[in-house]
């Protein structure tokens, strides 16, 4: 097995930060995804344009650039604006906050496409039936659409989660002590770069495997009411 020279705890600390940042980002991505899908399927032209711009821009710009913009760009932008109002402030963005917001925002664009497909997969007749029995639009959304959307969206969202958790490695660039950053520090301390990066990669692999198994169970659970040949 890999000899971590007593630095194993750093990797363990890092995993916790990685998972926490990943879960927060996923929550934000789900929220952005629902909002984005609502915008894409909306009758309002403004909402559609906004949602389309969102997914287009996110798809065309590397994650690293977006992280750098949020982490280094936002404080300078806000400072610049406040300066023009005659106020001098020094702003510091918390790397955890910047990291999870950027990653969540990016994967929200991917979740948007997943949710959009899922909403379209639901039989239109069900909504018509719900409206016919007198449900309001909001009630039909809550009682008919939302419970079923998860079933169609689950495989796609599982994919988004597995790509997202790998993307959190990028936050190491802004010095958040997550798994890769801690592996980096440990690797430099004991001059065993291969050992530590390899150990980190195996941990990411383990997270992927556990996620895949959990996703399979969740899919079985979500499909429990469906008859199949």
């Amino acid at each position: 097995m890999l000899d971590l020279k007593g630095y194993g705890w750093m990797l363990w600390d890092g995993v916790q930060v990685t998972l926490l940042v990943g879960i927060c980002a996923m929550a934000l991505a789900l929220l952005m995804g629902l909002l984005g899908a609502w915008g894409k399927l909306s009758h309002s032209r403004t909402a559609r344009t906004a949602a389309d711009t969102y997914t287009t821009v996110i798809r065309g710009v590397p994650e690293l650039i977006l992280i750098l913009i949020v982490y280094y760009g936002t404080p300078t932008l806000i400072q610049g604006i406040l300066e023009s109002f005659g106020r001098d402030v020094i702003l510091d963005v918390n790397p955890f906050l910047a990291g999870f917001i950027t990653i969540g925002f990016i994967y929200g664009a991917f979740a948007t496409e997943v949710f959009r497909g899922a909403f379209l997969a639901i039989d239109k007749g069900q909504i018509e039936a719900a409206r016919a029995v007198g449900m309001s639009k909001a009630l039909a959304f809550r009682r008919i659409l939302l419970p079923q959307v998860w079933r169609f969206a689950l495989p796609g969202l599982g994919n988004v989660w597995m790509v997202l958790i790998k993307a959190t490695a990028l936050i190491s660039v802004i010095q958040l002590p997550e798994l890769l950053r801690n592996a980096d520090i440990a690797a430099r301390a004991v001059r065993l770069p291969f050992t530590f990066y390899f150990a980190a990669s195996l941990i990411y692999l383990a997270i992927t495997i556990v996620s895949m198994l959990a996703l399979q169970r969740a899919e079985t659970w979500a499909n429990r009411g469906i008859r199949r040949a």
Binding site: V57, R59, G60, V61, P62, E63, L64, I65, L66, L68, I69, Y72, G73, T74, T76, L77, G156, N159, K166, A167, T168, A169, L170, S172, V173, L180, A183, D184, A187, R191, L192, P193, F194, T195, Y197, F198, A200, S201, Y204, L205, T208, I209
Partner: protein
Amino acid sequence: MDYEIVIESIPKLLSGAVLTIEITALSVVIGLAFSIPIALMRVSQNPALWMPVYGYIFYFRGTPLLVQIFLIYYGSGQFREEFEALGLWRFFREPYFCAVLTLTLNTAAYTAEILRGAIRAVPFGEVEAARACGMSRALLFRRIILPKAFRLALPAYSNEVVFLFQATSLVSIITLLDLTGIARIIVARSFAVYEIYIAAAVIYLIVTYGILYVFRRVEHRLSGHLRERAGMDEAAPAGKGAIPAGQPAPVTIAVR
């Protein structure tokens, strides 16, 4: 907003974009060449062939690219003496070589998985017909399965190329001066943080949609025989829609 600094830096950013495109092109071409034998091994029935390939694909798809880059660029330093003995150290100490190597290995894994899905999606009737004509296994792959699989894989593959293009921004972390690397240097010198990064983002955006446009044209050309002839109903274009990686590609049915 400081526009002057943006206009001044555009030539430098573009020179970085050239390196970005160069690294992408190299990795895409070499990765595609590797991915074909890998995909063929992956669909093989022989465990000695598919099992190692399965492990390789699983590892490269299951770990972050940044970790892979660090593993190859910094990690190779741990085995410096061994590499020197083999005469390989002069390659592994170059960030350019390590970047292209990592991106190639990474994209070959993803592409092989896309190709596997496409090979599985080739209609069995075509394979059967080819066998009935007396084609050998090699000829069957060369003439029937691979050409069909390539066309089925194209939408998913265009996504992969776009992802790889954007992923090349990570090579700036191992000191290469690609578009992101140049942007970071200009930012460090000028403090025009968001102006420069947004300018870089716009360049990425333009190239990304350029790549997608080229792929759409190629797809259009390759699916000519599946489209309805001019003058007939144009409401139902065939061969549209991206296929998620790893899933069998849907088969477009020709309407004549």
